[in-house]
Symmetry: C2
Subunit: 388 residues, 2 copies
């Protein structure tokens, strides 16, 4: 735990198959006007929408509809949401869905009372909100992004071919999040799997960095092991409550800043994956999966010690009679086997990326420090070629 | 993650060797009158007191002294602290010390504006505060209890020979806690070790319960492994910053409710240990250590599966060619070896307990459910005899 850091995360979580009922405890804390944010309407088909609307009406709230949040929420949609909130004096932004809806709600929350256009202010200049922030609550129907207990918000600008995430301060975190594992049961398997890999990668990005001995790395390994274990149960039986609940809880703790405390982190897989996403509009978790192995195999020689620890602690690779590098590589092979078992995308071609996009995706990749090797643009291009 | 539960923990943590400077960020949020709570004066000898007083004065605060908080804070001292807070219209209770000071500050916080005597209301009837709660901030000088990020408060009544803990609601948690690992360097080794075992036991009490597959158990194992690893470094070199910082961080996360989410828990070692403490006034962590192994060996047959997992995951015990019970017992032997290495008390006689106290300690032990076996008073007596 080197360095100085702070930690505060005040989101109240309600977890379990009865957790929606706790919406009744939260609603009295807010005014009458509730902006109900959701995506393509699956919550109408599976009945979740009706349950929520009933609770809102029982609590005497006005419901302001804000449907159609897309998987990678766009700046145009964000501007639309801000207008809805302003026109209706919204008191609470209630996001129902996965990370896209939560990220979008947070982006709206910091933009309603802000005169400037949010894209330039928050996603290009990375400024902090100086205006009043409208409170956000989340009701999850998909586990993966961890957006329910963090201050991150990723917005896509198709015109500029950019998909950028801003991690705001703690005051932007949702006030409450409702996590009912059963709400994730009806999700198509491909979406479930993309979420699982998104979680896994969040943990990797915080784990594969730094050489100091750190409690955070032990916690990261615990989350990985629980996730791997439950994922293999969930792909056989997506309605296994215990497995889906562990996956949901793991998602939350993988990205609420806990496991990055006191250590450096490396978010390059997200940077490359998000740039792939900006070009292909492919599912976030799948873009991460498709570039992960080429990236990790590339940087492994610069961080052998940690990759060896990963192999031993997470994948039970025996080190007997092997070099450190062999052990480390076996860890990545075990990870690849697991990725194949759960069925994530292992290359960007199947996500719609083509050779002629490589330069553009490379250009759109933000280079961050923190990893075992700071990449050049040429190295990003090489990793992308290996991901094709 | 079975069952329904909620989680909220809004304590802001400042961690690191520069963390005290963040007191400057917190103080402006509170009024002028600061009740400065501390123990026997070691903070005056090591200079921490002077550093804090300077920051308080620089921020224009009135300092109201409340010294002399004893290792097991008594109800008499609590009544004294409440009077100090009332007489001085205190705006913030600033506890400087270990768990005793933090626990005491929380007990004062819920009692200042309450007409009833706190002992009966909070520690006998376990009622929740219905009055205004005075905010609490903590500056840790000892790692162990986790009191810096939870709502627990243990108070001792010598007259009634009772040491009782109340876990209050989230609104009683400290508003902020400052964790500087260097502030723990000057602690006598015996106190450091007692703190380490207190942490370990907190994790055990939440781990050795339930049979379901649960992310919380993976996190518990991670905390145990990091703690064991760092404890062995710290007993050789108490000024190893990395080891002491991991121990400090582990303490916080071992008892801020995270690793008990979605599972049952078993607090019987604390119940027996606290009763020993009420008779001997021995250091909390040492009382837990002295009764742990007799207790765990006694309940092992009722929870073999979990004790086997503990042996394999935490202590790397190989299961080859052994029965589950053999593996499980080897885990406890490995734990005993570690306890000997770090030097905790392994029997209650050396803490001052005598044969003739056994009946009284048994009587004072509160029996809780949640463990693999709900004990009878006769079983408690038997475990205490084995602990002598």
């Amino acid at each position: 735990m080197l360095g100085n850091f702070s930690y505060k995360n005040a989101t109240k979580l309600y977890f379990g198959d009865d957790s929606l009922s706790y919406l009744n405890e939260e609603l009295p804390k807010y005014g009458k006007n509730i902006q109900l944010i959701y995506g393509g309407g699956s919550i109408k088909r599976n009945g979740i929408y009706d349950q929520i609307v009933k609770i809102l009406k029982d609590n005497g709230k006005n419901i302001i509809e804000d449907a159609g949040v897309m998987p990678n929420p766009t700046i145009e949609k964000l501007r639309e949401g801000v207008k809805i909130a302003r026109d209706n004096n919204v008191d609470l932004l209630l996001a129902v869905g996965g990370g896209s809806c939560c990220d979008y709600a947070k982006a709206v929350s910091v933009s309603v009372h802000c005169d400037e256009d949010p894209w330039d202010k928050y996603y290009i200049r990375f400024e902090e909100p100086t205006c009043e922030i409208v409170p956000v609550g989340c009701i999850l129907t998909m586990a993966g992004t961890g957006s329910e207990m963090n201050a991150g918000s990723v917005i896509t600008n198709h015109e500029q071919k950019l998909k950028i995430g801003h991690v705001f301060g703690e005051e932007v975190m949702p006030k409450f999040s409702i996590l009912n594992p059963k709400f994730t049961f009806s999700l198509p398997k491909r979406q479930m799997v993309a979420g699982i890999y998104d979680i896994f990668n969040h943990i990797c990005e915080q784990y594969f960095s730094g050489e100091d001995d750190n409690t955070s790395d032990y916690l990261a390994e615990a989350l990985m092991k629980s996730l791997i274990h439950s994922s293999l149960i969930a792909i056989e039986d997506p309605e296994d409550y215990e497995a889906r609940s562990n996956i949901m809880w793991t998602a939350t703790w993988a990205l609420n800043t806990l496991i990055s405390r006191g250590k450096s982190t490396d978010w390059m897989v997200h940077m490359i994956g998000q740039s792939v996403g900006a070009y292909t509009d492919a599912t976030h978790g799948m873009t991460l999966a498709a570039v992960s192995l080429p990236y990790y195999r590339y940087i492994l020689p610069y961080g052998v010690k940690k990759f060896k620890r990963f192999a031993e602690e997470v994948w039970n690779v025996s080190s007997e009679g092997k070099t450190d590098e062999q052990v480390a590589l076996e860890g990545l092979s075990a990870m690849e086997d697991w990725m194949k078992k759960i069925g994530v995308s292992l290359n960007i071609s199947e996500l719609g990326a083509t050779e002629d996009m490589i330069d553009g995706i490379t250009e759109g990749t933000i280079i961050l420090e923190g990893g075992y090797k700071v990449l050049s643009k040429d190295e990003v291009r090489e990793i992308l070629k290996q991901s094709l």
